[in-house]
Symmetry: C2
Subunit: 424 residues, 2 copies
C-alpha cells in the first residue's frame, strides 16, 4: 500500500499550533528527510509575532482555523492543546474526512474513545503517540508490537517535571520549592506547576496507556492522584537508608473482577531499579503481559524534538495507511477504577520530641491491625523538629489513612505525617 500512496503523490498536511513542538515538527517536515509528506498550512494566533522566515514560501500561514478545516489537506496535526475549542476543531476535521495526529493528552484522555470511533465511522484515523511519552513509541509498541500478549499491568514515570524536581532534591539535597524554581527557570515547569506536580498530567497519560495497553478505558477523573509537594529533602535521606529514592509513579493494572487499578503518586522505588535510576526529563514505561513477562521502554519524554519525532512518525503512518485505530477502539465503556495501593508503606513524622511518641504511634497502628516493619531515626536533628520514619508491612492505603488521621490529632506533630507506598 505504501507504494500506491507514493505514486499518488505527497500527502498534504496542515499544522495547528506553531509553538515549540510545532516548530520542531515543521523543521522535520521541511528537512527533506520525510518524502511523500508536504506541509501546506500553518495555523496560529498572532502570526505577526509567530511567522518564521525559515519556513518555505509554499506554506500558507493563517490565523483562521476555518482556512485549515476548509482546505484540501488529508491530515491535520493538532498541537494547540487544551480541551476547548480543540475538541470542536478535531471533531469537525474528522467529519470533513481528515485524519488527525495530536500530542494533546487531555483531549485524548477525555474524548479519545469518542474521537477514535468517529474517525472509524469516517474511515479516518486519530493518532496520538506524542500525547504520552514524547520520544518513546510506547503506544505503538503496546498496540501492535505486543498485540500477541495480554498486558495486565503498566507502570511508568510519565512526568518529566516531577522526575527533574525529585532527582534535583535527591542529588542536591534541595527543598521542593528551590528545585521547582530551577525547573521553572530551565523551562521544565510551568509558572503554575499544579498539573505536573499534583499528578493530573501523569493521570491523563496513564488513562491513555490503560486504554491502549490494558484495553480498559478509564475516566481520568477516577484516577487517584497525590502531589509531590509534601516531600522534603529528609525523605530522600531516609529513603536512601532503605536503599530507595522517591519518584512520581503512575500505575494501572487490569483486575480479575473487570476493574482497573489506577493511581498516580510519589512512591519509594529501589535506587538500583530502572525506575530509581530515571533522572531529568527521562520517561520510562514498563509493561507486564501474561505470556511475555516484563518489557521496558525508556527515553526522553519531554522536549520539542522527541515529541516532534512522535508526531511526524504518526503522520507518516497515517500517510502510508500503515496505521489502524488503537486496539481499544471498539471499547466504548469506561471501566471502574480502584485507586487504593495495597503495599508496604513508608511513613515520615516530624515531631517536637518528648517521651512516648513512638509508643503512642505504634499502639495506634496496632489498633488498626497494621504491622510495623521497622523504625528509623537518624541522629543530629533538632529535638523540636525531629524527623523519624516507620516502615509498615503491606496494608491497604485506606486503613493507613484512617490510622494516620487519628495519629495526626496528637499535639507533638510539627507537620502532618507523610505516607508513601514502597515499590519493590
Amino acid at each position: 500500500m505504501t507504494s500506491k500512496t507514493q505514486t499518488n503523490g505527497a500527502t498534504r498536511v496542515a499544522l495547528l499550533g506553531f509553538g515549540t513542538v510545532g516548530q520542531a515538527v515543521t523543521r522535520i517536515l521541511c528537512s527533506g528527510e520525510i518524502p511523500h509528506v508536504t506541509l501546506t498550512h500553518i495555523f496560529n494566533r498572532n502570526l505577526a509575532r509567530k511567522r518564521a522566515d525559515w519556513v518555505p514560501a509554499s506554506v500558507t500561514w493563517t490565523e483562521s482555523v476555518d482556512d485549515i478545516l476548509n482546505s484540501d489537506v488529508s491530515v491535520i496535526i493538532e498541537l494547540v492543546g487544551g480541551l476547548r475549542p480543540t475538541y470542536d476543531w478535531v471533531k469537525t476535521a474528522i467529519e470533513r474526512g481528515k485524519s488527525v495526529v495530536t500530542a494533546n493528552k487531555q483531549l485524548m484522555a477525555h474524548y479519545g474513545i469518542e474521537l477514535i470511533d468517529l474517525a472509524r465511522q469516517h474511515g479516518k484515523e486519530v493518532r496520538f503517540e506524542a500525547s504520552v511519552a514524547g520520544g518513546i513509541p510506547v503506544l505503538r509498541a503496546l498496540q501492535d508490537g505486543l498485540a500477541g500478549d495480554r498486558l495486565v499491568e503498566v507502570r511508568g514515570i510519565l512526568n518529566g517535571t516531577c522526575a527533574y524536581i525529585l532527582s534535583r532534591m535527591q542529588t542536591d539535597n534541595m527543598p521542593f520549592a528551590d528545585a521547582l524554581a530551577d525547573a521553572q527557570r530551565l523551562g521544565y515547569a510551568e509558572a503554575d506547576p499544579s498539573e505536573d506536580v499534583d499528578g493530573a498530567d501523569a493521570a491523563a497519560k496513564l488513562a491513555i496507556i490503560a486504554a491502549v495497553g490494558l484495553r480498559r478505558p478509564v475516566r481520568v477523573a477516577d484516577i487517584a492522584t497525590r502531589s509531590i509537594r509534601p516531600i522534603e529533602p529528609v525523605d530522600f535521606l531516609y529513603a536512601r537508608e532503605l536503599g530507595c529514592t522517591i519518584r512520581q509513579i503512575a500505575r494501572a493494572s487490569a483486575e480479575d473482577d473487570g476493574m482497573v487499578f489506577a493511581a498516580v503518586r510519589p512512591a519509594l522505588v529501589p535506587l538500583a531499579s530502572a525506575f530509581g535510576r530515571i533522572e531529568g526529563s527521562q520517561n520510562i514505561v514498563t509493561v507486564r503481559g501474561i505470556f511475555g513477562g516484563e518489557t521496558s521502554f525508556s527515553g526522553f519524554g519531554a522536549g520539542g524534538s522527541p515529541t516532534a519525532v512522535a508526531v511526524v512518525s504518526d503522520v507518516i503512518s497515517v500517510a502510508s495507511h500503515q496505521g489502524s485505530a488503537p486496539a481499544n477502539g471498539t471499547a466504548t465503556t469506561f471501566h471502574k477504577v480502584n485507586g487504593e495501593f495495597v503495599a508496604p508503606h513508608y511513613v515520615r513524622f516530624i515531631v517536637n520530641d518528648k517521651p512516648g511518641i513512638i509508643a503512642q504511634v505504634t499502639a495506634a497502628y496496632a489498633r488498626y491491625g497494621i504491622n510495623i516493619e521497622g523504625v528509623l531515626q537518624l541522629p543530629k536533628f533538632r529535638r523540636d523538629r525531629l524527623p523519624f520514619v516507620i516502615t509498615l508491612e503491606e496494608c491497604p492505603e485506606s486503613v493507613l489513612d484512617r490510622a494516620l488521621a487519628e495519629i495526626a490529632k496528637s499535639d507533638y506533630h510539627v507537620q502532618p505525617p507523610l505516607s508513601l507506598p514502597i515499590f519493590s
Copy 2:
C-alpha cells in the same frame, strides 16, 4: 481495514517447527486470547515424538512441508531455523501467495532484502520481529514509531547467552568455562556455543537492525566480531577499578561517507550505565536519531514466551493488514562496512614479572603514536602470572592491534594481551 478482515472471518495460519518457541506460539494462538487467527497446520519432523495432546483436534499435523505449501493458509510461521532448506520453503510460500512470519535471524540477515522484495512483488509480507530481540518490539519501533527521525546509530546487547555468562563471571568471580557450563546446564547456551560467544548470533541481529533502523543493509560476513572467550575474572576486577563491567556490544552507525560502521565484540561499559546493568537473559537496544536523541528498549530477549509474543504480534499485524514492508525494503544494495573501533581501550597483560616490562610496553605504544591514559596494577598476584592493565586514549583498533602484535613477541607474556574498547 481491521473490521473488514474480521468480518471476512479468521486468518488461517500454519506453523513450521514445533520446538520451544513453536509450542509457545501454539499455546498463545490456542489460548482464546487471539481472535480472528486460526492455527490450522503444524509441520515438524518426527511427529511420533512431537505431537502434543493439548493441541486442538482441528489442527492438522504433518511431516511433509508440501502439505503446508499446498494448503490454503494465508500466513506461514517459520520456526525451523537455519538457511537450508528454510530459504527454499519461505521463497516457495511467498510465490504461492502466502505471507511469512519468521524468528529466523540467519535467514533474514542473509536473504531478508531478497525475500522482502519478493513478498512485495506478490503483494505479501515478510515479518521478523522475533528474529532480533525476543520480547522487545524494537523493529516495529525503529520502522514505524521512530519513522519521523533519521537514526544514525544503534547499540545493543543482543545475545542473552553472553549477557548471562559475563554477568555470572562478574558477580561470582567465575572463569569463562564454568559460567559457560552453568549456562549450558540451564539451557541458556548450546552444546556448541560458538555462534553465541564468538559473536555470529549478535552479528546477524545487528545486520537486521542496521537494515531496518539505519536503512543501510550490510552483509553479515562484513561485520567484524570478536569472541568473549579470552575474558578472565581478573578483567572484571580491573574493569571495576575503572567503574566499568564487560558486556558483548553490537554497534552500528551510519557514516557520512555512506559506509556503515558495524562490529560485535566484548567491551568495557560503565557499571552505572543502562548497558552495564543488563543481566541474565535481558536485551537492550539504544538508538540515536538526528532529531529525537536517544531512545532505549529493554526486556527479556531469550526464552520461548517473549519470542512467541513477537511472532504472534507479527501474525496479528499481517492478518489485520496493519503491517507494511520494512522501511528498508526498497534498498537492494549492500553498504560497505567499516569494522574498526576508534575508542579508548583497555589492554590487559599477564606476564612473568621482571624489571622494565612497563617501560618496554609504553615505549612500543609511543612508537605507534598511541597515548597512554593510565596504568593499573593491583597487589597480591603471583609474580610469575602478574596481571596489569594499561588504558589508552582514543586510537584506531588497527593501529593498536599492530602495536600489540609487536609487544606480544616479548618472552615475558604468560598469555597474549587482551584489548577491549571502552564505551562511555
